[in-house]
Amino acid sequence: MVSEGSSFVKGMSMGGLFCLVVSLLSGLSPSPKTSTEEHHHHHHVKAPSKDELKELSNAHIQELSKQVQVYCVVMVQPKLIVYWAAALDTWSKHCDKSVFYTSEESKALEAVDLNEKDEWARLRKALKHAYENAGDLRWFFLAQPTTFAIIENLKYLVLTKDPSEPFYLGNVMKSGELEYVDYESGIVLSYEALKRLVHVFQDEEKCPERGNALWKMDDDKQLAECLKYTGVFAENGEDTHGKGLFNSKSVHTLISDSMKANPNNVLEGCCSDMAVTFTGMSPGQMQVMMFGVYRLRPYGHDFHDVLAFYPPEGSNND
């Protein structure tokens, strides 16, 4: 009896020790699922807190708001025409400059036709074009028209970050050892990151233009590989509470998931108040988002934000 008991205890302590060792070695977080928790030993970029902002002078804030201008790079194709039209009529109006790059010309809508069939090569050309036409703009937002973005919240996230430092932000995912920013959730690049990227595009060894015909990596993973060579690593964009700001799902899906996972705290357990992107929303839902985000509000709720962003000219759905 005693020997069985003692062997049980010995077993238990071995098991516990084994679990600890495994955890430490693999950074295992045995709980679900949010990308912020899985990346506790990865880089995060958090939005500035109220206290951080209070410490800045008005003059400094003015300077920062001028600096934080966004060039949106939207990669479109005629087969996604309804999303293309939706992006044009909704969120992209809030970019300081938005340029649509297409795979081929469309009779219905205008865009920069890069005359390039290969997706990866086209993306490189678009990024190079954006870099060359940046003017004074120092932040770049790369998206597809199936993404919905709130550019003001992107600006808030990077407000106190220096664009002459390399930043590569978004919804960070992992593929084997590689950490990359998910394309569908939107990719943010600072001027310096884009500069290094455009430079490494010239290196056919590190960052080949046509890739390997046999083994084609997804564009977002390719991007991460190339940036790694320049010393730029993916960082997860989060709010002050650590909630991810870039979402690979729609509002509807995220809330539906939260209703199952956190039935007593559906919204608290879900999405950030300062979310930047959502993915997988229909054009109709994007129009609802414009209303819901930029117009619909309860009378009497006022916020004292340190920045002011004004509605775009010639628009009526925001």
């Binding site: 098991g15 559906v266 608290e268 609802v288 819901g292």
Partner: protein, 327 residues
């Protein structure tokens, strides 16, 4: 030592000990992460409670209060699938909320002596208003009826009502034109009776001037309102945009190609708009809202916002600048 006699059992206990130890540690590590989540939720709840208190102060300005009693038309079959979510989203923003059903429960629901079913909707409405008149008349200034698939932004309802006198016979909602001369308010979009309107409705039935003329609850109530000389109010905002909506936001907001007015807009008393002018920034209600959509609308209205954005529609600022011009 009994090792030589029972080697298998000893091996078995060791192995099960290992498994238990492993799972125990795993569970403990798990717990650490959950703690963070709990702290976050608590902070969030505190923040909301504080904000709520600040907001409540806002509409006690004028000489009167704008207390709203909301009653939700529901039934036993819907409590788990719909009404639960009404309760978890907007209902507690009302000054008082009653869930009206045929059966009394701990939800809590009020059980009226009426059966369930479409044919009994107007009976339920009549009995509900009689019940409220009898038990809750002094607890509120305005009386809202909503369905268990209506989403209501109570602050915006208060904002719509606060400049009116509840002692006048008034009735608000999404005004439909057919069947009744002065029109009637859509049931699904939610409608509001002033205190005097409620008194007249109840008096209409006690005097026999109003009767159960139809099962179509909103239209029948509209007829009683007309009979009792209760005035339907134009609840559109200063830009002519509607506040109460009988359909979900997407149906109103998404402009379609030029075509004859769709069937669901042919009932409209005021010329309807599709596209952004359909709906006021201070919208009061939407209808046919699923459980998930209730949370989505709650999130869009009260949580998700564009940092620093200066809203295009600023009616208060406009009014103030008009004042400056005239003086």
């Amino acid at each position: 030592m009994t090792r030589r006699m029972r080697p298998n059992l000893s091996y078995l206990t060791f192995t099960s000990g290992m498994m238990v130890g492993f799972q125990l540690l795993r569970f403990l590590l798990d717990l650490n992460v959950s703690q963070e989540q709990v702290t976050y939720f608590e902070r969030g709840v505190e923040r909301n409670v504080r904000q709520e208190a600040e907001r409540q102060q806002h509409h006690q300005t004028a000489n009167h209060t704008t207390r709203i009693l909301c009653w939700i038309m529901t039934g036993p079959k819907n409590l788990e699938s719909r009404t639960k979510y009404i309760k978890d989203t907007w209902a507690n923003r009302c000054n008082k909320v009653l869930y009206i059903s045929s059966v009394k429960t701990d939800f809590p629901t009020v059980g009226l002596n009426v059966s369930e079913g479409r044919e009994n909707l107007y009976w339920k409405t009549i009995r509900a208003f009689q019940y409220i008149h009898q038990h809750h008349l002094e607890e509120a200034d305005w009386f809202l009826k909503a369905d268990d698939d209506t989403f209501v932004i109570v602050e915006n309802l208060r904002h719509t009502l606060y400049k009116y006198d509840t002692e006048k016979p008034l009735y608000f909602g999404r005004r439909f034109a057919p069947f009744i001369n002065q029109g009637y308010m859509s049931g699904g979009a939610g409608y509001v009776l002033s205190k005097e309107a409620l008194r007249r409705f109840v008096k209409g039935f006690s005097s026999g001037k109003c009767t159960h003329v139809s099962n179509i609850e909103d239209m029948a109530l509209g007829l009683c309102m007309e009979t009792m000389k209760v005035e339907p109010v134009d609840s559109r905002d200063i830009k002519g945009r509607q506040t109460f909506h009988a359909y979900p936001p997407e149906m109103h907001l998404v402009r379609q190609f030029q075509r004859p007015r769709p069937w669901y807009l042919t009932y409209e008393y005021y010329t309807p708009f599709e596209g952004p002018d359909c709906c006021s920034d201070f919208a009061v209600s939407f209808h046919y809202i699923s459980a998930v959509q209730l949370y989505v609308l709650d999130y869009l209205t009260y949580h998700l916002r564009p940092y620093g954005y200066k809203y295009r529609f600023n009616p208060d600022k406009e009014n103030r600048s008009q004042l400056i011009k005239t003086t």
